[in-house]
Amino acid sequence: MTTAVQTRSLSFTQRMAAGLSALFLGSFIIFGVGMASDARLHNAAHDTRHATGFPCH
């Protein structure tokens, strides 16, 4: 199994499934780090939110 993860070698369905998975997981993580209003998440990510320009408070 030396399958390179090159987009051009993937079928359309594979590409879309992988792309959607990445978008979904990425959105979930970015929401948690950057936008979630839970105070504990906010406090843990506080300095990173400011540093990367997320609207923080």
Partner: protein
Amino acid sequence: MRRTIRATPPASPATEQTGFNIVIGRVLLAAILAGIAAGLVMGVIQHVRLTPLIIQAETFEAAEAPAVAADPSAAAANMPAGQTHDHGATPGTAPAGAEHHHDPEAWAPQDGLERTFYTTLTAMLAGAGFALLLVGVSFGAGIPITRDNGLIWGLCGFIAVSLAPAFSLPPELPGTAAASLPARQAWWLATIAATAIAIWLAATRRSPVMLLAAALLVVLPHAIGAPQVPPVDTPLPAAVQGEFVAASLGASFVLWLLIGFFLSITLNPAREKSA
């Protein structure tokens, strides 16, 4: 990775399904690793350059807090100065603070090593999240991130996610005046989406109409304008704020370039073997 199933002979439908999952898993893993690596560098830059400015701003914010102690709505006013980071306590943030008040009892990392740890951890997570989104866009648009265009992908990410929003809504230090948080978050997301679509149009279309549409999409969020409040006096020196904005954009620039660069490697490991 389910090795037992991977070892089964090919040609069965189950194997195809497994190969499918492996492909997705490898794409996600490639994105996460690239993002974590870039985020780690971001974490170091934050520690050296950005967090000190945030802590400096918090001392101004804390110094302001007793001034509103008489206000019964300022629930955190009785907290020890310096420890609180209450966003409703500063007069400058009153419009936001009135509706956006963090629970002062909630857990927060201790200043020092713990705070550095969580800041670095969340920077790595942010890097992974951004890398995943960039890969998702690449796959969705059918434009691969290759060894040759990784930095350009990173640059586009920086323009869409950092530079364009910062043009009307610059990175803020704690305690600076700001409009309501949900309004700014909505504007921030919409600006990123509009700019990203504009970049995609400019990269893939050549017709003047489409390029004009791309230009309009870039300008539109700024013509509408980010949610603002009238400028108020803040004890925070303007020089510190300016320094923070510049350092934040510089750090984001490095973060995004590294995300693009690392993705170009993790997504294309084969070329190294064959070449």
